[in-house]
């Protein structure tokens, strides 16, 4: 019975997967200003500087997200 209940769960989970990836030319919407984590790069740099100074560490702050994915 448990195995039977597990089956739809696995099927739903499998439906979440995709083989399609966003192509470089399909990132127009992601490149919009309102899609960025932080729209002010100067403010972002200042905040990172304060944070790393307080923590006595640097690096590892950036993470992947929105944006145009340009080189």
């Amino acid at each position: 019975m448990k195995k039977l209940l597990l089956l739809p769960f696995v099927l739903v989970l499998a439906a979440c997967t995709t083989t399609e990836s966003v192509q470089p030319w399909e990132r127009g919407q992601l490149a919009r200003t309102d899609m960025a984590w932080n729209t002010d790069p100067l403010h972002n740099a200042m905040r990172e500087h304060v944070y790393t100074s307080k923590e006595g560490a640097s690096g590892g702050l950036s993470t992947g997200g929105g944006g145009c994915g340009c080189y």
Binding site: Q23, P24, W25, E26, R27, G28, A31, R32, C68, G69, C70, Y71
Partner: protein
């Protein structure tokens, strides 16, 4: 025992050798640039890569939302204006989802080279571009010479040197 091990190693080497040779020949082979015929963004006649055989061609993939493209387009226009008479041409392939965005963007620039559009996006697939902007330099024989990924201010100076070298070659 030792002889057996040596034989096994020899067998492994024999299996690896064709793969190594294959990769070497692949690296040396000059690949012909995938041909295309695309309509101009302004609706006038189409542009085909084959018709530019004998010229050094810079094929640039761009979009209006791509920040480095805004640097590349005017810089390459300057190079094109200087070297066009010697046989250099630029084709800028627009990949915007909305053509109106591209047209609005181009109104701010005065570009001399053909701007084409590829609504089916078959060209970026054929050229296997991995990011924006990506440009390909094609020599007079129609073969891919090099790829230029991204664009920073001043990159056109380095590109100009390569283009001038390619222009000296005979088709």
């Amino acid at each position: 025992m030792m002889l057996k091990r040596l034989r096994r190693i020899r067998l492994h080497l024999l299996l690896i050798l064709p793969m190594l040779l294959g990769s070497i020949s692949f690296g040396l082979q000059a690949a012909p640039a995938p041909d295309f015929t695309l309509p101009r963004l302004d609706g006038s006649e189409s542009v085909s890569l084959a018709s530019l055989r004998g010229k050094v061609v810079y094929v640039d993939f761009w979009a209006s939302w791509c920040a480095p493209c805004t640097v590349a387009l005017p810089e390459m226009d300057k190079v094109r204006r200087d070297l066009h008479a010697r046989g250099f041409e630029v084709i800028a392939i627009n990949l915007d989802e909305s053509e109106a965005d591209a047209i609005r963007f181009l109104q701010r620039m005065n570009l001399s080279y053909p701007i084409v559009t590829d609504p089916a996006k078959s060209t970026p697939t054929a050229y296997k571009i991995a990011g924006m902007p990506t440009a390909f330099l094609i020599d007079r024989r129609g073969e891919l010479h090099s790829t230029h990924a991204g664009f920073r201010p001043g990159d056109s100076a380095k590109l100009r040197l390569t283009i001038e070298q390619l222009l000296q070659e005979t088709p």
